[in-house]
């Protein structure tokens, strides 16, 4: 199996993202970054497939040189190849831009039996890139995959979190899947692989190399403002005899017609 896994570098979610009051944007300078957790679940799912069925896993991301960090992690976990797609300079990007650039890059690097993405990135929470790539590449699309059950040369059987329960789906290959956390806890990179990954010269591809039109790669959705949500009013803290304060809390909910 030849599998491509798309990874996004995001801000470390161990701390609350800070706003720069001057620009009205999230402060990224000097903030730790991590690989989007759901993308690593996807990578783990891909590696488990090639562990059993053979083949190679590649990882790809869109961004600047700094984003090579997540690609190195991918290599250290077991990916055979890594590719950085350089976003055109001086241009704002959104989910569309990333979908378009990735779809062009995947076409130029392929063919792949499977393309895997996380179900969403934990920064913009868009849940958009996977489905858009699938359509741009005319691949079978299955999102919110909870489990990979069976693979043959023509198809893959997966469990998907649908709207009214889990669905067992047989999907024709090539297919794009977006993955839930349950696809697998990401394995720890071995020391040997980490050393090897650090030595790899990761190619940085520009629009020409992937056959993308830079004019099409601009953002369709523009961010006007980022702001903190209205802080919640600190409520009532009830202390005392458990039975009494519980009755009081229930009475409040009934009074306010919440129940």
């Amino acid at each position: 199996m030849n599998i491509m896994v798309c990874i996004k570098q995001v801000l470390d979610n161990a701390s609350v993202p800070k706003l720069d009051p001057a620009t009205g944007r999230v402060v990224t300078e000097g903030v730790e970054t991590i690989a989007n957790p759901f993308d690593l679940n996807a990578l783990e799912g891909a590696l488990r497939l090639t562990d059993v069925h053979g083949g190679e896993v590649s990882v790809i991301t869109v961004g600047n040189e700094e984003c090579k960090t997540v690609l190195k992690l991918g290599l250290a976990m077991g990916a055979a190849h890594a590719y950085l797609v350089k976003a055109p300079d001086g241009q704002e990007q959104d989910s569309w831009s990333v979908s378009y650039l990735l779809s062009r890059a995947i076409t130029s690097l392929g063919p792949f039996d499977l393309v895997l993405c996380g179900k969403q990135a934990i920064d913009d929470d868009s849940a958009q890139v996977g489905g858009s790539i699938a359509r741009l590449l005319n691949m079978t699309q299955v999102t919110y995959v909870e489990e990979i059950q069976e693979v043959s040369s023509e198809s893959i059987t997966v469990k998907r979190a649908g709207n009214s329960g889990s669905e067992i789906i047989a999907a024709r290959l090539p297919a794009l899947l977006t993955c839930e956390k349950s696809l697998g806890e990401p394995r720890y990179p071995t020391l040997k692989r980490t050393r090897m990954a650090n030595r790899v010269d990761i190619p940085a591809l520009d629009c020409t190399e992937i056959g993308a039109d830079p004019d099409r790669a601009g953002a369709l959705v523009k961010v006007q403002m980022v702001y903190a949500p209205e802080p919640r009013q600190r409520g009532e803290l009830l202390r005392g005899e458990p039975e009494e304060i519980t009755r009081l809390a229930v009475a409040r909910l009934v009074e306010q017609k919440i129940i």
Binding site: Q128, G130, Q141, S164, I168, L220, L237, L238, V250, L253
Partner: protein
Amino acid sequence: MPNPDYQGVWACLDQADGKISGVSLEVLSAARRLADMLSVQASAVLLGHSVDGLAAEAFAYGADRVYVCDDEKLKDYRAATYGKALESLIRSYRPAIILFGATNNGHDLASRLAGSLGTGLCTNCVRLQQNEEGMLIASRPVYGGSLMENVACGGARPWLYTIHQNAMEPLEPQDGKTGDIIPVKMELEEEDACAKVLKIIPAILGEISLTDAQIIVSGGRGLGDAKGFTLIQELADTLHAAVGASRAAVDAGWIPYAHQVGQTGKTVSPRLYIACGISGALQHLAGMKNSDVIVAVNRDENAPIFSAANYGIVGDLYQVIPVMIEEFKKVMAGR
């Protein structure tokens, strides 16, 4: 700039088992309000099999027009067939704006459409309004709800939006209201689907899913062990609520991941969220703090969860929850 070739607001409705989903009624209501704001028509799109009976409900919730695409191949939701049907409808009838529910299927379909149309998509919107310049601004939570952003689509139409559950109130249905039904015939081949739904495993009978729930009762590390969820379930059953969990409880193996609320689980915003034995780690707070009302039960009065709670009960949950169950049962019995 409005493009005169593309007109009106569409609501793409989720349906299953002969019913329009709750979030779709919110989506349709949002489409109605938006259409009024822009002085255009609101239409509903029903894709599925044996769905024509649902048009009356769509009219009651504000649709001027209902496009019905009834086809056996649309019985199960599948990205390729639903996408093909909707793309073809868009080409024929050219809406300016399409709203979807922010559900798994809604995101699946909207993201696919965004890829084929090359037009803007804003997901998880909690508000849609025009600014002074007449620009349509969508507000959406980001970073798991830690921050909000206002975004605007530009360029080609139609613009696509998915609407967050419980963010926009459904309108009062007006029974007996009618409008135009436009049946649409599609040339769909089973081949087009590229995928077969072999089986649907419904949520456990009576189990309410987190994203649909009006009330959620969640348990965390403070439960002490997996058995604690029996008590959480009993409280949830009393309130017809869904059961949620903190990441700590999921990681401890007390409850499946599907119940996890938070940044790496599900982001929820029910009418009432009851957090039991949850300290309130950043990632959990981000995923639930947009709930209308939060009740927290915790022994530690310095637990961060209390900073988000409307009512904080400082006490042992094993003493508090049984009383809650008893009291709620009395309230429910009186109705």
